[in-house]
């Protein structure tokens, strides 16, 4: 697995990040490696995309978490949660492209920290007229 680029964001630390994009994540830039220019060539403003990231600051030994960090509640196995702490900490983010400049892709709310490695970009399926 080799990152295709990195996230540029005002979010610097996990304490700053909202739990989900609909809880107020800021816009961000996807700084893709220029070697992937051909793969990125058909991304356009307005497209709904899924970004796959690698949560490089996650704890990969965690198998269960307390929902919303509430220690009064029983722990839940991480495969039934969206916790970033999990054996393979891959983040899944559905966003809208707002601008494209070469291999720099700007998107609306993204709940990933500055510097987070990007693994892949895919179109949202129901947004694909002809796949």
């Amino acid at each position: 697995m080799r990152p295709i680029g990195r996230v540029r964001s005002v979010l610097a630390a996990r304490a700053d990040a909202p739990r989900q994009a609909d809880e107020g994540a800021p816009p961000a830039e996807l700084l893709l490696d220029p070697e992937y220019a051909a793969a990125a060539a058909d991304l356009r403003p307005g497209m709904r995309i899924v970004i796959l990231t690698w949560f490089d600051r996650a704890d990969r030994t965690t198998q269960a978490v307390h929902p919303r960090g509430d220690r009064e509640r029983p722990p839940t196995g991480v495969f039934a949660t969206r916790s970033p702490d999990r054996p393979n900490p891959i983040g899944l983010h559905e966003v809208t492209v707002t601008a494209v400049a070469g291999t720099t892709i700007t998107v609306d709310g993204l709940e990933a920290l500055n510097g987070t490695p990007i693994l892949d970009i895919k179109p949202v399926l129901d947004a694909v007229a002809d796949r």
Copy 2:
């Protein structure tokens, strides 16, 4: 990146696989490694989940593909397609859990080949009552 398990499916080769799950993919089993039993403990029949897989038979050098393999049409950058051939060939599959027996999870239609490594399992966000 270390697989958490493997897919068991009647699909043996890429030629057998439908392009998307809604095109007639067969049920499949997720054979998770028993060391992840705690992470899988809260998966239940009826849950909608996203399975992340590693398309180990993909061509990672491909940056553009002809839509639906139609060579009359112009090639499209893979980040705007769901082609399995891409720099990091991670598959994204939305399915419903139909049975759970220990760390063997049965799901409805899955368009992944027999033996495909599984990287992660997450609940579908709009199906999560309380995350």
